[in-house]
Amino acid sequence: MNPAACDRTRPGKLIVGIGSPHGLDQVGWRVAEGLRNRLNDDWQIRLAAVPLDLLDWLEPLQELHLIDASVDLDAPDDWAPCQRLDWPHPWIAELPCRATHDFNLPRVLQLADSLHLLPPRVTLWVIPVGDDFGASPTEPLGWGPQAVAGLESADSDVGRRGDHAWGLEQRCQAAATVIGRELSPAGNRPTTQTAAGPPERQNHA
């Protein structure tokens, strides 16, 4: 076990996947779960059903990373498997989020900021999922050629598999790989794990 994991006096690093087990809303959870094998014991990983859950977990932290799906991410490089937005990036306030009692993710972050509860580094990783919310995980999501080409150049481990219609599983793996590499510099990865290889191709007859 990494000694740092036992050092409770040191502020921790927290990753929170936001979503549910259902449809494309599960992307936040699956990407967060996909990071478990890619990061060492310094990292704590939690799954939130609603952004308000975050407020319960903001004990002193070094870093907070949030992962959520977005159905309408209008970014210049929206071909990427995920979009990185560091708080307080102005786009965060503009994200088309909805949540219970009007406490969507931007508002929860604003509230935490007002109360000085946010750690020095807060990053939101937004996973674009298109607008077919509720699609089956086995259905292709239809990334176009530009997206796949961009992904190839962004991360050589996540290879192209011939067609451009990746399923949810592949997209989650791709996002987890990219985020994992960002968060886990060489030498800070689990010794027993290697970064994920190319996702298995699914047959979409």
Partner: protein, 436 residues
């Protein structure tokens, strides 16, 4: 000369904020006369009752929990108790006590959220909990910690705070260990003190001078502050066992809402459920620290000011911490996690007290335990007609002289007194099929 037929004026609140779900308000005025007030709920119906039909009884708690992320225990608890009545299951006193404890956790997390982040900003002229946090960081942090403790209790008893998975017909799937619950005692000791301080803060808020003679409806139990068992009582003296609920209360459809509205029978008048109703009907049964706090702040019952509902919520949080602490301190797991029972065809109903008020479930099951019929009446459905009636009273000539924005804001504040959960209330759509 006064216009005998002034032009109509319409006040719209297109989206109600700081409530759960999606709804709006429409107020139609003609001169100083209020022609119509509509709490418009346009969130799509969620059809939970139909979804349950044909499902095994063991699915019901998990499915109904999805009706609400803030008050899933209310749906689960009412469902399992109704099914226990259908199967003639008697739970042990230990299980009953743990269920009360679980409900205390839900009251704490739901009330703490509403008190501090949803309703309190209204009394300071602020637009949001974020603004309140900037001006009253200590109070908001205290509220968030109270909420967190409620969630921690739900995690300990239910496996997770949102949509817990441990409640079962007959008891629980697994009893928590003594260390798991005893670990919460220090937080509950802090919570009891902090919730009393929160009530003192709330009691000093500037409450509008608004009073209505409400018909309060809540459960009542001779030996305890009613949460999971008791008769249904009304402030006019009606007392009925819960299986008679549908004889005295009915749901009707109104054109402007996807949620049904409840009325009392036979006259069809609106009624009021929730913390204020519970406090007015059951004050003497509050736990001693809550009763002492109510006396200290001079909170008199009956209270007919709906804005004081925030204080009622606060007192219930004190009660939940006090009762929860007693249960936690005395908890020694023994006996089975679940009572044995035989699945059989039958019918059962139950009422419990959700954070927002009384909730009723009724189920019919076949011999294999599959659901044949389900009826769920959430608290927000029951309060809708009362909310509309309150708004009519609020819209007096003096307020109508104000700009439309101000009128809309005052209407929103009044609605938030009820902590409406619109997503809970839109679970059903009455369908009229015309065959030609």
């Amino acid at each position: 000369m006064k216009d005998s037929n002034p032009s109509p004026r319409q006040i719209r609140v297109p989206i109600l904020t700081r409530v759960e779900g999606e709804g709006s308000l429409v107020v139609k005025l003609r001169g100083s006369a209020v022609e119509d007030v509509q709490l418009v709920i346009f969130e799509p119906p969620r059809l939970f009752e139909a979804l349950l039909r044909g499902r095994p009884f063991s699915d019901v708690a998990d499915i109904t929990a999805r009706i609400c992320g803030i008050c899933p225990i209310a749906y689960q608890m009412t469902a399992v108790q109704a099914l226990e009545q259908a199967f003639d299951v008697r739970v042990t006193p230990e299980i009953r006590l743990l269920r009360r404890l679980m409900y205390c956790g839900e009251w704490i997390e739901s009330h703490a959220l509403h008190m501090h982040l949803l309703q309190a900003p209204d009394f300071f002229g602020l637009e949001s909990g974020i603004q309140l946090a900037e001006q009253y960081p200590m109070e908001v942090k205290r509220g968030l910690r109270l909420k967190k403790i409620g969630n921690a209790l739900l995690e300990a008893l239910g496996g997770r705070a949102i949509h817990p998975v441990n409640l079962a017909v007959g008891g629980f799937y697994r009893l928590p260990t003594a260390p798991e619950l005893q670990a919460l005692i220090p937080d509950f000791e802090w919570g009891l003190t902090a919730s009393i301080e929160a009530v003192r803060w709330l009691a000093a808020l500037p409450f509008p001078d608004f009073h209505c003679r409400y018909d309060y409806v809540a459960m009542q139990h001779p030996d305890e502050y009613a949460i999971i068992q008791g008769d249904v009582v009304c402030s006019d003296g009606l007392r009925i066992p819960h299986p008679q609920y549908e004889t005295h209360f009915e749901e009707i459809q109104v054109p402007h809402s996807t949620a049904l509205q409840s009325r009392r029978l036979p006259a069809g008048q609106p009624y009021f459920v929730g913390p204020l109703a519970r406090l007015n009907l059951n004050r003497a049964r509050l736990a001693e620290p809550a009763l002492r706090t109510a006396d200290e702040i001079g909170w008199e019952t009956p209270c007919h000011n709906p804005y004081q509902g925030i204080v009622a919520r606060g007192l219930e949080v004190v009660h939940a911490f006090a009762e929860g602490l007693d249960i936690l301190r005395g908890y020694r797991p023994h006996g089975p996690a679940r009572a044995d029972f035989t699945v059989r065809a039958g019918e059962g109903s139950a009422v419990t007290e959700a954070p927002r008020g009384l909730i009723f479930h009724r189920y019919q099951v076949d011999a294999q335990g599959r659901i044949q019929f389900a009826k769920i009446v959430p608290p927000t459905s029951q309060n809708q007609a009362q909310i509309e009636q309150d708004l009519r009273q609020l819209l007096e000539p003096e307020l109508l002289e104000q700009p439309d924005d101000q009128i809309a804001l005052e209407c929103e504040k009044l609605v938030r007194n009820y902590d409406p959960c619109i997503s809970c209330s839109t679970h059903f759509l009455k369908l009229h099929l015309v065959r030609q």
